[in-house]
Symmetry: C2
Subunit: 201 residues, 2 copies
DNA sequence: GTTATAACCGTATCTCCGTACGGTTATCTG
DNA sequence: CAGATAACCGTACGGAGATACGGTTATAAC
């Protein structure tokens, strides 16, 4: 509903109708409308994050280069198909409302923080494995990569067809690859076996 | 009002009261509330853009290196002080509502398009002057720079204090400089005299 | 079996807000 | 001065929507 008609079009009554249930039942599960919306926001955030984590796990399992895995993870966030566009619209709507709704803002910042930590961890692990320069600080690098990713997502969202006749597909991969190449400068000596997974104990 | 309490808190009556006028008078100038909000959005977009244009004009007047000027222009967009944060909040609120308000969406995309064109023009002019490699395509480069800028703005907005104890001031300039350095690789041979200004006839 | 808890419904209430409207005062214009 | 246009006011109307509420049916527990 949000992705199709925006947050303002979402009323408790309409939500109930769309779900094929009564207003009373919705109230049974969510005491207030805000509670309901918060749940929805958490839901999409979690779904998006789950996809990223899946990519990371797969990458680790197949012992693929960290840079390659991160390229996939970051591409996953770009609204390149209708499904991701829908999610992106929802996230964007909530982000706008989060301005004076601390609970929503917290979900937003938390999601961003986790993503940044994932990237920072990938960079950190890349150092151990030899893909990343020994002296590079993972945190600034992660902020930069996260920024590029989110900024790129915005560009793609606004002009899915691409700008000035050049399709987005011509932009996304090259830019992400270039940014990743600036961080992951080396070859993997011995695979550390964890890509962006948590630092092992 | 928007930046302090969000778009939802903006009612015609409250707006009138804040402006020290009557509801009737507001209606005299804006036929509908939507019209009023659209005007507000256009207003902030124009104000933000005006600052960027001013920077460009100043840069041209003093014949400063294009890369340097663009660094300033891009920094101008980052919500580094409370004034810019307020503007950023407003823009973000509108962007969220723009999902099912085509008129608002148009303002948003238009602003983005103009910015991208400014950047592309700067790159183009940089080629003539010698700051940019002859074979670089300005458009993809502009998309990339715009993406970095907007993404960085988001990171700064979400965590103004900086992440993990590292202040944002340590991030912004280095990242922007690095990105610009990737595009503006050369020295200016002879000053073209127009930085990001329109191609002369 | 009875009692409690969860699932479920429909409506009534109360508040808020956008806009319509009828009216008044000021500022031009000729 | 006439008379038109713009600036300006306060209220009334109408709709929409969030929540409260009183109630019913099912499922569980003992």
């Amino acid at each position: 509903m949000i992705s199709e008609h925006g947050l303002d079009a979402v009323t408790v009554a309409r939500t109930a109708a769309t779900a094929g249930m009564s207003v009373g039942l919705v109230q049974h599960y969510f005491r207030t409308k805000d509670e309901m919306l918060l749940h929805a926001f958490r839901e999409v955030s979690a779904r998006i994050r789950a996809r990223a984590e899946q990519r990371i796990r797969d990458g680790v399992r197949h012992e693929r280069p960290i840079a390659r895995v991160m390229a996939e993870v970051m591409t996953e966030y770009i609204p390149l198909d209708e499904a991701r566009r829908a999610e992106y619209r929802v996230a964007r709507a909530f982000a706008g409302r989060a301005l004076d709704a601390p609970a929503l803002a917290e979900v937003d910042t938390e999601a961003a923080r986790r993503l940044r930590e994932d990237i920072a961890r990938a960079v950190h692990n890349g150092k151990e494995c030899g893909e990343v320069d020994e002296h590079l600080d993972p945190l600034p690098a992660a902020v930069r990569l996260a920024a590029v990713m989110e900024g790129l997502a915005l560009q793609v969202y606004r002009e899915p067809e691409g700008a000035a006749g050049v399709p987005v597909t011509r932009f996304v991969a090259p830019v992400l690859d270039a940014e990743l190449a600036a961080v992951f400068t080396g070859e993997c000596r011995q695979y550390a076996g964890r890509a962006a997974s948590p630092r092992s104990p």
